[in-house]
């Protein structure tokens, strides 16, 4: 049994790529060891720092096990003449490396053939790995690669500077990126002493620790957690503002982390918290510090890639940079106030929204139009939509793109607009709508807080999707450069959570109309497929929301969306009702019955060459008692279901439908549909057809997966 170590030494890998690459490496090597029969269930761990990726494995076989293979030779007719081996047999025996007397016979469908058992020697692990390692390394999938060497022989995330490959105490020789593998690694850039030798894999982690590298990312995370807590000790009542993604980043930016608490002048706390936190987190990668009530304190914590800061030099440096950044932000804030948001609307004429869709001024105009025609639809008995505020917000929403603060901190778009609107005396409803209108940024992000913000956010996203679809720029596969999927997910989530009674077909019609008469309209080349593309796109997004966002089973979602996918709120209500009803035994039977109905109708359709025309059901032609009973019950239930559906009382409607079960079961038990008598057959098909139509408006039950057939 052998231990194995591979360390790929690199110039600094981008932090955002490290976790995926390390996990990929672990998967690749586990697969490699199994594929090459060096281990059945490999014991391995993968490690990473900004300058290295490593795999450490134990219990590898020293070589692949030998395999005995059956090799087939010439047919026995050719191989033997008069019971004696012919030259053909002798040649085969030679080739297989066995005595002629050891040859065997096998019977195949084609006849009897000679055969030999050949022992294929397993290769040594060292040989296999020497061959496979460069291939595995080259196959790692990086989001962005580069060339660096003369002749440009390979692309990789960053230049490779050293390779350690050891099988126990022996080097596995290979070359990648112009570097030969060996046993020399590198320590921390400044705390280590340059190159050092690793004798065997089992010493890897300790020898790196001596060189001031904590190679185990989990261990670094623990050290950072501990250092953050320790750094907070000096400020009474202070706590860290939690930030998991920042923590992930600093774990991948350090080899030997430490944390240092810094401070800034409290006068900067007059700036909005959003601005302060963005500067600290996004630009400086500092953790913000808050009091027990969640209010920001004039402190921050920087995670360093060194062992401490005994003279306070590093703290002083970080404080200096942060102060300059805050100064900039304050300068921008003050400079921006000189031109009110309202006066910036005109400036939007020179900000491009999308090259074929015109400027942000054009967009603002469309948004103002959209929210003013749509506003009345969303009045709620308890609160009316503030239409004037929404209209004002639509015009102002994009004006912050002209501010210095947003040019500097692009991630604060919308938020800055909202803050300025409030500072400049606009109604709170206006400020909130502007502030929130980019939300939700992801499935986990909250939707806009107010109805005005929700409508504006939907209009903004729908306007973008409408324009892009009309241009024919529909997302395909992994290509979605304008993040239209995210925009559509946002619409679905907002509409669902704000219960907006919104018809997607109507919405996207109105959005298209808003482009009427514009320059953009002349470039709309994909109008013929516009509505069908939108419908298909949103069906997918809605499916995603109901399944991944709301956790519904895929067949329930399919059943509900087969009935209708243009009304988001309604689809959500229906899928909830279906999920609840599904547990009843009746429901399973109904689903089975509807599958049968669909099949029978399809067969009938196929027999007529797709041109099945059915007369209206005629009760007078109903012969059997079960047929009559089912027809009567359906006629009684259908209007009730329709009424309940109309009032969105889907639970009640579904239990009404469930009442059909005994009649349906009896019908299929006793009644033959496809009888010879054409009139009776058509009448029965007609009954089934109306059942399907009348009772599939909430969900297409035939989509539900059932256990029984």
């Amino acid at each position: 049994m052998a231990d194995f170590l591979l360390e790929i030494g690199l110039e600094e890998i981008p932090a955002r790529m490290i976790d995926d690459a390390r996990e990929e490496l672990a998967r690749r090597f586990a697969a490699l060891f199994v594929r090459e029969r060096l281990a059945d269930s490999p014991k391995l761990a993968a490690y990473s720092t900004p300058r290295r990726l490593a795999v450490l494995a134990t219990g590898l076989a020293a070589s692949q096990p030998d395999v005995i293979e059956q090799v087939t030779g010439p047919s026995t007719k050719v191989a033997y003449k008069d019971g004696k081996p012919t030259p053909a047999a002798e040649a085969f025996a030679r080739k297989a490396g066995v005595e002629v007397s050891k040859l065997e016979c096998v019977t195949t469908p084609k006849g009897e053939y000679l055969s030999a058992s050949v022992t294929k020697k397993g290769r040594s692990a060292a040989d296999v790995l020497a061959e496979e390692l460069p291939k595995e390394i080259a196959s790692i999938n990086w989001p962005k690669n580069m060339y660096w060497r003369a002749g440009k022989p390979e692309r990789f995330v960053r230049p490779v500077r050293w390779l350690v490959a050891l099988l126990d105490d022996k080097v596995v020789p290979f070359e990648f990126g112009g570097v030969k593998s060996g046993r020399d690694s590198q320590g921390h850039r400044r705390l280590g002493n340059g190159k050092f030798t690793i004798n065997k894999p089992s010493e890897y982690i300790t020898s790196l620790t001596e060189a001031h590298v904590i190679v185990d990312q989990a261990e670094r995370r623990r050290k950072i957690d501990y250092s953050l807590a320790a750094a907070l000790q000096s400020v009474a009542g202070a706590r860290l503002r939690k930030d998991m993604s920042l923590l992930d980043t600093v774990v991948n930016l350090t080899e030997w982390p430490a944390a240092v608490l810094g401070s800034f002048e409290s006068e900067y706390l007059a700036l909005p918290e959003e601005v302060l936190v963005t500067v600290m987190r996004d630009h400086q990668k500092y953790f913000a510090v808050e009091d027990a009530g969640g209010k920001l304190l004039p402190h921050f914590i920087a995670v360093l890639n060194t062992d401490g800061d005994p003279d306070g030099l590093v703290r002083h440096g970080h404080e200096r940079v942060l102060r300059a950044r805050f100064n900039d932000a304050r300068f921008f804030w003050q400079a921006d106030q000189k031109t009110k948001l309202a006066d910036r609307i005109e400036m939007l004429r020179s900000v491009t929204f999308q090259k074929d869709l015109g400027s942000y001024y054009d967009k603002a105009k469309r948004l103002a139009h959209l929210v003013s025609i749509g506003g009345a639809d969303f009045d709620h008995p308890k609160h009316r939509v503030k239409r004037n505020a929404m209209y004002e917000a639509a015009w102002l929403a994009k004006t912050d793109l002209t501010t210095e603060l947003v040019k500097e901190f692009t991630e604060l778009q919308g938020i800055v607009g909202g803050l300025y609107a409030r500072a400049q005396g606009h109604d709170q409803a206006v400020a909130d709508a502007v502030y929130d209108h980019y939300k939700p940024e992801s499935m986990d992000d909250a939707v806009p807080r107010t109805i005005e913000g929700a409508i504006l956010a939907v209009a903004d996203k729908a306007d973008t999707i409408a324009g892009m679809f009309a241009l024919g720029m529909v997302p395909t596969g992994s290509k979605d450069p304008f993040a239209l999927r995210r925009a559509a997910n946002g619409i679905v989530k907002i509409v669902a959570e704000h219960h907006l009674p919104m018809d997607l077909g109507m919405l996207f019609n109105v959005c298209l109309v808003a482009y009427k008469g514009s320059e953009a309209e002349k470039k709309f080349t994909a109008l013929d497929k516009y509505m069908s593309n939108i419908a298909a796109f949103f069906r997918e997004r809605l499916e995603f929301y109901l399944r991944d966002g709301k956790g519904h089973a895929y067949d329930e979602v399919n059943a509900v969306l087969a009935a209708d996918s243009a009304h988001i709120v309604d689809a959500l209500a229906r899928v909830q009702a279906v999920a609840a009803a599904r547990k009843s035994a009746d429901f399973e039977s109904i689903s089975i019955a509807f599958k049968r109905i669909k099949n029978i109708l399809k067969q009938a359709q196929d027999k007529t060459g797709g041109k099945l025309t059915l007369p209206a059901f005629d009760p007078a032609l109903a012969k059997d008692a079960e047929e009559k009973a089912l027809a009567a019950l359906a006629a009684e239930i259908a209007p009730k279901v329709e009424e309940m559906r109309h009032h969105r009382d889907y639970a009640a409607a579904l239990s009404e439908i469930a009442r059909l079960r005994p009649a349906l079961d009896a019908f299929f038990d006793k009644v033959m549909v496809m009888v010879d008598d054409e009139k009776i057959r058509s009448n029965r098909l007609s009954l089934l057809d109306s059942l399907l139509k009348d009772f599939s408006t909430i969900a297409d039950f035939s989509e539900i997966v059932t256990e029984k057939k």
């Binding site: 230049p159 850039r189 400044r190 920087a302 890639n305 015109g358």
Partner: protein
């Protein structure tokens, strides 16, 4: 000996870095004397990274960004800041180590500081250039842009060059621990110890150029200049471009000898065509574009178009330059 412990002055910083890179095989060039937005735009980078010839150079480059002017009021932002540019073609394997040594050379004890290489890929659409690299962060301050050039003037590079761009003002402010660039000690008279500050040397320039860039530059004339310089570049390159269209089949490179032969000697020989002059004029266009931008004179529709026009010039120059290199090899 108090002077011994004092941080480097602005000019000492320049001396030290130049000496450092000269000692490691770089030739020292002077700042380019046409307005550029960054050291990358100097022909010492833009043109020298093209083609196969090895080249290592270091130079100071005052870089003008009209929109960044702040009338001398902002402690960290300047209309004209100073870069020290190092190009290593091809980069040695220990290029990062060399860079770190250069920091030690200017008095930074790396053992006592927090240093990180954070991903930052550089791209210039107007130059048709991009590269992969980092911003080097020293105690949270971005002091250098470190880039492995992958493409320039729309052309794939072979060999790759490494470009190190030191931001001298912020680096010097860090060394001297001052909060405003204007408080940087530019020079200290070794005889009397009298100090000249960055403010004394540059404040007036920042103020006046801010006034010019934002308020007084005549938009109509700027456009006119831009159009004329562009026409001149096209005049100088047009032959190359037109000929390439008529002569190439399948878009392969055109050998300058072929052009010479086909045009029957009506043009100066390829090796004598003034590609370098064309590039100067292309830089003029780029600076005029920046001025127009600072004046807020470029509308949406124009903006994309003008960038494309300048890019076409830069790409044209790059292609012509590479062709000439072919002749001279």
């Amino acid at each position: 000996m108090p002077t011994m412990t004092k941080a480097l002055t602005f000019q000492d910083l320049i001396f030290t870095l130049q000496k450092f890179w000269a000692d490691r095989g770089c030739i020292l060039q002077q700042p380019y004397d046409v307005e550029v937005g960054a050291g990358t735009m100097s022909p010492e980078t833009f043109l020298r990274v093209l083609g196969p010839k090895p080249y290592s150079v270091a130079y100071v480059q005052p870089s003008r960004r009209p929109a960044d002017g702040r009338y001398g009021e902002n402690p960290n932002r300047l209309y004209k800041h100073t870069q020290l540019q190092v190009v290593l073609k091809p980069p040695p394997d220990n290029v990062q180590d060399l860079y770190l040594e250069s920091l030690e050379a200017i008095g930074i004890d790396l053992r006592k500081h927090d240093l990180k290489f954070e991903e930052d890929n550089w791209e210039s659409p107007t130059l048709g250039a991009w590269g992969i690299g980092w911003q080097v962060m020293l105690d949270g301050l971005e002091i250098t842009q470190f880039t492995y050039f992958q493409q320039c003037g729309g052309l794939d590079l072979e060999p790759i060059s490494a470009e190190l761009t030191y931001g001298l003002e912020r680096l010097c402010a860090f060394l001297q621990d001052v909060n405003s660039v204007y408080d940087i000690v530019w020079a200290r008279d070794p005889r009397a110890g009298k100090e000249v500050l960055y403010r004394d040397v540059r404040y007036e320039e920042e103020l006046q150029f801010s006034v010019y860039n934002f308020e007084m530059a005549d938009v109509e004339r700027l456009w006119k200049h831009l159009n004329e310089y562009e026409a001149e570049v096209k005049h100088l390159l047009g032959m190359h471009l037109a000929e390439r269209e008529s002569l190439t089949q399948g878009g392969g490179p055109v050998l300058p000898e072929t052009i010479d032969r086909m045009t029957g000697g009506t043009l100066p020989k390829a090796s004598l065509r003034p590609v370098l002059a064309a590039f100067d004029l292309c830089l003029k266009c780029s600076h005029l574009f920046n001025l127009l931008d600072a004046r807020g004179a470029i509308s949406v529709t124009e903006r994309v178009g003008v960038i494309a026009r300048i890019r076409a010039l830069a790409v044209g120059v790059a292609k012509a330059y590479v062709e000439q290199q072919g002749v001279m090899v």
